[in-house]
């Protein structure tokens, strides 16, 4: 029986830029940082309250994809095709204001839903995430 998730990948356009975004703008911590080649690290980050779930910041240019696939994926990411995850916080208005002050782009301001209050933001690549304060 599956018990928990430990790693989840987020495809990013530029790993160095993503490192800055996820640590300095979202406040995530670097868990593992292993240089594996020019401009390519095995780089994982985690939300401060959930160190056991590592988010793998995987550059879309990585060799597992053909050039054609990589370019197609990059275009889709930039367009905001992929909604990746829901992050939760204790106080959505404080978190929303802080992220906005740091330059994070929100496509939806906090709105009251039946399960809590939710906003939507994009990372520096174009992936979108829900930010929620649950009831």
């Amino acid at each position: 029986m599956i018990t928990k998730m430990t790693h989840a990948s987020v495809l990013v356009l530029d790993q160095a830029s993503a490192r800055d975004f996820y640590t300095n703008k979202l406040g995530f911590k670097i868990v593992t940082d292993v240089p594996m080649g020019p401009n390519d690290n095995w780089l994982t980050v985690a939300a401060p309250g959930q160190p056991g779930l590592e988010i793998v910041l995987a550059p879309v240019t990585r060799s597992m994809f053909s050039k054609e696939t990589s370019e197609a994926l990059a275009e889709l990411i930039k367009k905001g095709t992929f909604g990746v995850a829901v992050f939760t916080c204790d106080d959505i208005f404080a978190t929303y204001e802080e992220m906005k002050a740091k330059g994070v782009e929100f496509t939806k301001a906090p709105v009251k839903e039946f399960y809590g209050t939710e906003a939507i933001f994009k990372d520096d690549s174009g992936n979108w995430f829900s930010l929620a304060q649950l009831n």
Partner: protein
């Protein structure tokens, strides 16, 4: 809905600015009275509101940021004596004592631990990466 105000928006913005001020100036001798003044709150009101949002008083948060930053600098192999002053502590003994209380080991032990980890990563990088990922990325040695 975007750009429309929500209840107490002005209050949130002031508190967030105060937090960001601490984030940016943690290495300096921060006077909480000045931050409270800048946020247009009385000191008592400021501490109460700050704690209600961040679950820490401004002083506790400042200490937390300093310890977090000191860990980042130690990760970069900066000597303990330099880290202490770089993050705003005034004496090595107060820094070491506080660091040990929060992290569980002394700054010197933490530095040594990080150096050892880096050496292990350099020696055997694939032992830090789940095999399924390493294989799909073409990193496994044939």
């Amino acid at each position: 809905m975007l750009n429309q105000p929500y209840p107490k928006m002005y209050l949130y913005r002031r508190l967030v600015q105060a937090k960001l001020f601490i984030d940016a100036h943690y290495a300096e001798a921060i006077d909480l009275d000045i931050i409270a003044d800048e946020a247009w709150f009385s000191k008592f009101h400021f501490i109460k509101l700050f704690k209600s949002i961040y679950s820490k008083t401004p002083h506790q948060y400042l200490t937390y940021v300093r310890v977090e930053k000191s860990m980042e600098l130690l990760n970069m192999a900066m000597p303990v004596s330099e880290v202490c002053y770089a993050v705003g502590f005034e004496s090595l003994s107060s820094f070491s004592g506080l660091f040990k209380r929060v992290v569980g080991i002394t700054p010197s032990a933490y530095l040594a631990q990080q150096q050892q980890l880096k050496a292990q990563i350099q020696k055997a990088p694939l032992t830090f990466i789940p095999g399924c990922f390493a294989e799909s990325y073409g990193w496994m040695k044939k």
